[in-house]
Every structure is written in C-alpha cells, then in structure tokens.
C-alpha cells in the first residue's frame, strides 16, 4: 500500500468532518471517493495533502508517517492535489504556470515514466499545445482544468489527488479528461479521484470508497458499491 490512511478524524470546532476513516491507495490504480455534499471528501484530500492537520489518525506514505506535515513537503514527497475551483496562477503565462511546478515538486526520480523535458511537452500532453504564451487567467474554463492537471503533473507526482476534475466540463471535455486520467496508472502515477459524475467514476475507478457524514459506509468495485442498499439510501433517501 502506497498510501495508508487509518482512523483519520478531523473536527472543525464542533463539526466532525471526518469521523475516523480508513482508506488505502495503490500506485497503479484509480480509486474513487464518492459521497453526498458535505460527506468529507474534500476534507480527506485536504488532510492528506497537508492543508489541514488531522484531529487524530495517521497517514502513512510509502511506510513513512506524514501526518500533519506541511503541504509543500507532502507535495515534494510525491502526493500532489488539484483543486475543485480550477486554480492557476492567473496573472502568469500558461508556460510559466507549468514551469514553476516543475522547478519545485518531487525532484528525485522514481518509477519508469516519461520525464518531461520542457513545460511545452506537458502542455501538449494535456492538450494545451501552442497555448504556452497565453495568460492563464484569460483561458476558458475547460482549458483551466487542463492547466490544473498540467501543473500537478509538472510537480512530478507519484499519487495525484484530483478533486472534482470534471465539474463544469462539457460532455466532450469529460471524455477527453477520462482519456487523460486513464493514462496515469500506466505512467506509474496513482490516482485518487473525487467526482459526482457517476458515469466517469464507474468507468475509471477500479474501486470506490463511499463517505457519508465523515464515515466510510462502503468500499469495493463500482458495480457492487453502487448497488449497495446503504449507498443508494444515502443518495436517494429511505423508502417511505
């Protein structure tokens, strides 16, 4: 197990966002996390990526305890996350966005996967070829999402945490995104995915983890999980 989360708990004041979650993620897989709004999916990412310190519980990464380490250190160890809001350095050029990430991030080598020689190569890979001189903030939303993935890739991750990468994208853009995400495990990059698009999740993910009120209520292959009465109850409510 590359990433092992045990008994992770996070409270904000009196609100329990995560009430002891256990998840483990392998590096050559795509794992999905689903759950209704407010079930703690993004909080899980934030705690793993070092944005928030957990109240209790442990996060092990390749055997090392990384619980509560600052975000930049976790990123340099190879866990890189993207943001729900399609974040970028808006006032900088697209190429500079990617170059900044490639100058930081995980510097040492690892699994056999392509080494990017220039920011433009990464841009071409995510489908932004020729847009390097564009100002990031002036790009349409779909391209900003691609740029978010390019920036994360440039930081040389072993595990990508993608927070709602398909939100706000058109059908075509989602298809292209799925094609892109499917390539990551083959490149030795593990993917942990949050999204509400069930088609995307059930197509891409080998395993789904379902959260509700900060607790894991189901885990397993999409076919089983999505037909689990506990899961359908959470999404559709009880029978009257």
């Amino acid at each position: 197990m590359a990433l092992q989360i045990t008994g992770l708990r996070k409270e904000f004041g009196g609100v329990v966002a995560l009430a002891g979650v256990d998840v483990s993620i392998e590096l050559d897989r795509i794992v999905g996390i689903i759950g209704p709004n407010g079930s703690g999916k993004t909080t899980l990412f934030n705690v793993v990526a070092g944005v928030h310190r957990p109240t209790s519980g442990r996060v092990l990464w390749q055997g090392k305890d990384i619980t509560g380490k600052p975000a930049y250190q976790i990123a340099r160890m190879g866990i890189v996350r993207t943001f729900q809001q399609a974040m970028s350095y808006r006032g900088l050029s697209v190429r500079e966005n990617v170059r900044i990430a490639s100058e930081h991030g995980r510097s040492y080598g690892g699994a056999a996967r392509p080494k990017w020689d220039s920011p433009d190569e990464i841009l071409a890979f995510v489908g932004l070829a020729g847009l390097g001189n564009e100002m990031a903030g002036s790009m349409p939303f779909g391209n900003l999402r691609r740029l978010g993935v390019a920036v994360a890739l440039a930081a040389n991750p072993l595990l990508l945490l993608l927070d709602e990468p398909a939100a706000g994208l058109s059908e075509n853009e989602i298809a292209e995104l799925m094609e892109l995400i499917l390539r990551f495990p083959r490149m030795g990059i593990g993917v942990c995915l949050i999204d509400h698009d069930m088609f995307l999740m059930s197509t891409l993910c080998e395993r789904l983890v379902v959260l509700n009120f900060g607790t894991k209520i189901a885990e397993g292959p999409p076919t089983l999980v999505l037909n689990d009465p506990k899961v359908t109850e959470v999404y559709l409510g009880n029978e009257i």
């Binding site: 996350r81 970028s88 500079e96 930081h104 390097g132």
Partner: protein
C-alpha cells in the same frame, strides 16, 4: 426497495461519448522560441530590453553633464537612494505581492545603524554599508514573521504599526538615538582618492549602487526564484500544493527588500549628514508606497520611474508642498483606475499597441 438505483449501468465500454481510443500524440510540437532558454539559469535580455538598459545607463551617468545645477543634482541624489529602497519594495510587492506601508522604517534602521556605528564605534561608511544592509534584512525578516499568519491588508497594517513604533522608539532613545533631534553623521571616507563631499561624486556613488540594485532585481525577476515569488503572489495555496515553501520564500523576499532599504538608508544618512526620526515615519513610508504604485512595481524600470516622477514633478511644475500632495492623491487615483500596472506598464502597453499597429 424495488426501485432501481439512480445510477448509470456500471462499466460501459470506454468509448461511449466519443472515440476515446484515438490517441493524442504525446510528442510535443516544435519547442517555441521562448522555451529555448530553459537550460539557462536566467533569461537573457531581449534586444529591446538591452536598448532600454543602455538608454537608462547613459541617462543616469550623463545626467551631471546636462548642467543640472546644485538643486537638481541634489534632488537626483535623493531620487537615487529612494529608488534603491523602492527596488526592494518593488520586489516584495511586485513579485511576491506583499505590500508594505511602513517601508521607511527599514531605511531608518539602516541609517541609524550607520550613524550609531560611526558615532559610537568610529566605523565609517564602507563598514556600515554591508552591516546595515544585513541588520535591516534581519529585522525585516523578523517583522515578516506575522505575515505567515496574516496576509494582505492585515499585514499592511502591521508594517504601518511597526513604522510608527520605531518612530516612537527612536524619539525616546535618549542619547543613543539622539531623541527627536537625531544624530549627526560624518562624511564618506575617500576611496581610490575620490572625495564624496563633492556632489557629483556622491551622485555617481548613488548611481553605481542604483545600477547594482537594478541588476540584482533583473536577475531575481528572471530566475527561478522570481517565478517562485510570483507563484506566491498569484496563488499561495497552489504554490504550496506544488511544493513551494511559501513561508520561507516570503520571509526571504522581505529580507532582500530590507537589505535594499538598509543600503538606501546608509546612503541617505551620509548624504544628509544628519538624520532624525521624522525622516522614517509613516508619511515618508506612504510616499514610498505611492512611488512604487505610481511607477509600477512589476516592471524593471517602474520603481525608478515612480521615484523620478514624484521627486521631480513638483519641482518642475513649481508646486508647493500642499498642492503637490493633492496632485499625488489625484495622480494615484488616476493611476489605480486607468493604469493598474503603474506608469511603466502603461508606457509598455502603448509601445506594444504602436508595434501591433505598425505590423498591420
């Protein structure tokens, strides 16, 4: 529960919406010209940048030959050391995005360090220059620590408070700081037989340091470190998410900025020969902020342009101090509304517009 759940059939063939199998080529297109310099440590100046640099150097070095007279030459010296401090402020505000409205405090630390070193320990200008720079940098780093917890406007208020606090400390420092009267400073020890009591030589000393500040600013802005600072300015959360130790680099930027201000303070002290707390209060600080915003903090010549405009315009237009303050206020509003990047960015935009018109 008879209803089928509201989920799509799991695991349909991958190519439902479009032909996903059509592989996009992974090989990059021909690398564009801008990406060529990536192996280099710093981007080399373009032809236009070189031309502007030569014009700027000729202008700065040639100024005393234009027979400016005592008044304008001394004004030029003042503008010179002010610009040096502004290059520090330009770096922390323009690149790292941390504004300060108490920046004169760091000039004050540099100036008072030099004056106390001279008065108490008999250490002259050439010793004071590096030491004051270092000391200002350390203090700027310490004052920067709260910036790790509070950002934006909150930190601006902290800088303002520090400036006011330093002023009170200097005024009540007894004979150590000379209280409200301040301290006297001697003259700069001659080096290579150059006597800096001559105004023209003092001007060249300031211009030499100014050119070094310009060079340092250029090197920082166009290197990986400059990009790191811009990443922090544009999006701190994203910067951390790709592995940037934002706290370390913010303090670093503030320390570099403090060092610039310290150097400027020493030059100011040895030029004025007398320093007092009033020079380093909130008002001079606001002037520094005004100059850097008016000139533009992000472009290389912005701070210099801001300093020249604010120092020389009232003199040329013969405005009295009250009128000039009103003019600055109006000028700042106009710049913020019409030229958010400052005068330098405005000029660059005009240049690019003319260029695009000629190409058409």
């Amino acid at each position: 529960m008879n209803e089928t759940p509201h989920f799509p059939e799991p695991a349909p063939p991958v190519g439902r919406r479009r032909d996903i199998a059509s592989e996009r080529p992974v090989t990059p297109p021909a690398v564009q010209s801008e990406a060529k310099g990536r192996s280099g440590w710093v981007k080399l100046p373009s032809r236009e940048e070189t031309v502007v640099a030569i014009v700027a150097v000729v202008f700065l070095v040639g100024f005393p030959w234009c027979n400016p007279g005592y008044r304008f030459l001394s004004l030029a010296i003042t503008t010179g050391f002010t610009s040096i401090a502004l290059y520090g402020l330009g770096l922390q505000f323009g690149q790292a995005g941390i504004m300060s409205v108490g920046h004169a405090a760091f000039l004050g630390i540099g100036a008072y360090t030099a004056a106390i070193m001279a008065g108490r320990f008999g250490l002259g200008f050439w010793v004071a220059l590096p030491f004051s720079a270092l000391f200002s940098a350390v203090i700027a780093g310490l004052i920067g620590l709260p910036s790790l917890r509070v950002g934006g406007q909150h930190y601006i208020i902290i800088t303002f408070c520090f400036c006011a606090l330093l002023n009170i400390a200097l005024t009540n420092g007894g004979s150590f700081t000379g209280a409200a009267t301040g301290l006297d400073v001697g003259s700069i020890d001659p080096i290579f037989g150059i006597n800096f009591d001559q105004l023209r030589n003092a001007y060249y000393l300031v211009v030499a340091v100014l050119l070094i500040s310009l060079l340092v600013t250029y090197l920082i802005t166009n290197s990986s470190y400059g990009r790191t600072l811009r990443a922090i300015r544009e999006n701190e959360a994203l910067a951390r998410a790709v592995g940037i130790n934002t706290g370390l680099h913010k303090i670093g930027a503030l320390m570099v900025s403090g060092a610039f201000a310290g150097v400027a303070g020493v030059l100011q002290a040895y030029y004025l020969r007398h320093i007092s707390p009033a020079l380093y209060g909130p008002f001079p600080s606001l002037y520094l902020a005004l100059m850097v915003m008016l000139g533009g903090a992000r472009l290389l010549y912005g701070p210099l342009a801001g300093a020249i405009i604010v120092s020389f315009l009232p003199e040329i237009l013969k405005l009295d101090p009250i009128d000039s303050r009103i003019a600055y206020g109006v000028g700042l509003l106009v710049v913020i509304l019409l030229l958010p990047g400052g005068v330098s960015a405005g000029l660059l935009d005009i240049y690019r517009w003319l260029l695009s018109k000629r190409r058409r």
